[in-house]
């Protein structure tokens, strides 16, 4: 059985931004390691918070990705940290999203769509390519929803679709996507609850998905403020918001204290 050749460039050929070795805000608010140890706990955390999938499946080839789409991947890696909420605080989240897109077709098209929308706007190329990828992503998501097959890649894809519609000024559609995202997230939690023998766990989903959830909440209240509407997401307990962000703190026990400062 032959498979179509992958058109995605190897990761090693893509430009990767330089990442700080440690939390970039550590120096900002800490003098020494004493404060860091205060926030340590015995609870285990995922080794790599930027990883979307615990067990990386093989990359999915996609003949619908054209060679001229490759710059959009570069754009995503280089520019999206300045675009997505909180991504400038957690630059590795962008890498996590990109890595996830290698294994998830709908997410890949969402990544390309959001990149094409912004990149082509800068270069006045129009929305054509962005809309093509948007259409493909939505078709794939609809197919999965019809088959009741939800996963974290789909949740992130829906978030990106919401973002695309916000960026396009279609806030009503964006709110519908956020509503859908909320349902998918609920389903993911429920699935994990069943798999986990009826026990709730802070690790019901990957830290990256939780961070995306936090991004979505931010997008939700911004739209709510602009249009004087009630937010789509329910009223969360503050500790829930804390968990959503704290999980995405790779390799730094001190970050939760710092994040207290970051997140009002």
């Amino acid at each position: 059985m032959s498979t179509a050749p992958a058109l995605i460039a190897p990761l090693s050929e893509l430009p990767w931004p330089t990442l700080p070795d440690r939390d970039p805000f550590h120096e900002l608010l800490y003098d020494d390691e004493a404060n860091v140890s205060e926030s340590s706990s015995n609870e285990s955390t995922p080794q790599d918070a930027s990883c979307l999938f615990k067990y990386s499946p093989a990359p999915i080839p996609d003949t619908e990705i054209r060679p001229n789409d490759l710059p959009y991947f570069n754009f995503f890696l280089e520019e999206m940290a300045d675009v997505l909420p909180y991504a400038n605080l957690f630059p590795s989240a962008i890498h996590g999203l990109f890595s996830g897109s290698i294994h998830h077709k709908a997410l890949r098209h969402s990544v390309l769509s959001i990149s094409a929308l912004i990149a082509d706007k800068k270069s006045a190329l129009g929305k054509e390519r962005a809309l093509e990828h948007l259409q493909k992503s939505m078709t794939l998501i609809n197919s999965s929803l019809s088959a009741v097959e939800v996963d974290e890649g789909m949740a992130i894809s829906i978030f990106m679709l919401a973002y695309i519609h916000v960026a396009s000024g279609e806030h009503s559609t964006a709110r519908k996507h956020l509503r859908g995202l909320g349902m998918v997230l609920d389903q993911l939690q429920q699935d994990h609850f069943v798999r986990n023998g009826g026990r709730k766990s802070p690790f019901a989903m990957s830290p990256l998905t939780m961070l995306v959830w936090r991004m979505a909440i931010r997008m939700d209240f911004i739209i709510a403020i602009i249009y004087a509407r009630r937010p789509v997401f329910p009223l969360y307990d503050p500790s829930t918001l804390t968990v959503l962000t704290y999980q995405y703190c790779p390799g730094s026990r001190g970050v939760p204290q710092t994040m207290d400062c970051i997140l009002c």
Partner: protein, 201 residues
């Protein structure tokens, strides 16, 4: 902010369905108070207090260094925070002032952006109980002034406008009350490198 949006939506719904009355306002006030309290508790967190202290120290050192003769046996410029040190050669390094308020000397842009978000939320919450622009609420007005002072002092960082910054400035405008309360005109003083805003009211 998400919580504040929910409570704001609740307040709007209560006012629309039950009409204006002191009972309704008391009910809204009862919902807002815990929110406001929780919001202000953020300033009491150790990490926030530390950031406030560092910023205050940075500003103090800067102000001392700008005095020609401090009476101290050392050159304070050597220990100035490096983020926003005014240079005699580069006039744009001199922080802008908001109206006639004294300019602020920021040492940490990240922290000050964050603090302005906090002030935005403070104004937003105050608007839930008193949804009138230009009302003379001292805390709301103080937050708006500090927000604008900080925004003016942010310098180049100010030009990187995010939704949060735009929203904060919008809320400050509401706190000030719009053109009926303040007529604002922009005047660039020709002899001064500091861009100032002249206000007639």
């Amino acid at each position: 902010m998400h919580r504040a949006c929910h409570i704001s939506a609740d307040a709007m719904a209560i006012r629309q369905t039950r009409g204006p009355s002191s009972t309704v306002e008391l009910e809204i006030e009862a919902c807002v108070q815990p929110l406001l309290q929780r919001h202000r508790e953020w300033r009491d967190r150790p990490v926030v207090r530390e950031a406030v202290e560092r910023e205050r120290n940075g500003q103090l050192i800067y102000e001392l260094s700008s005095i020609k003769n401090t009476g101290l046996p050392l050159d304070l410029s050597a220990i100035l925070p490096t983020a926003q040190v005014p240079s005699e050669e580069l006039s744009e390094d001199i922080p802008m002032a908001f109206l006639d308020y004294s300019p602020m000397y920021l040492t940490n842009f990240f922290w000050n952006n964050l603090l302005n978000h906090w002030r935005s939320i403070e104004i937003y919450i105050s608007l839930i109980t008193t949804p009138d622009w230009g009302s003379c609420e001292p805390i709301r007005l103080a937050s708006a002034v500090e927000l604008c002072r900080t925004h003016a002092a942010l310098g180049k960082e100010r030009n990187f406008l995010t939704t949060g910054k735009i929203w904060g400035l919008h809320l400050a405008g509401i706190a000030f009350g719009g053109p009926d309360s303040y007529q604002v005109t922009f005047v660039r003083e020709s002899c001064s490198p500091v861009e100032r805003i002249s206000v007639d009211h």
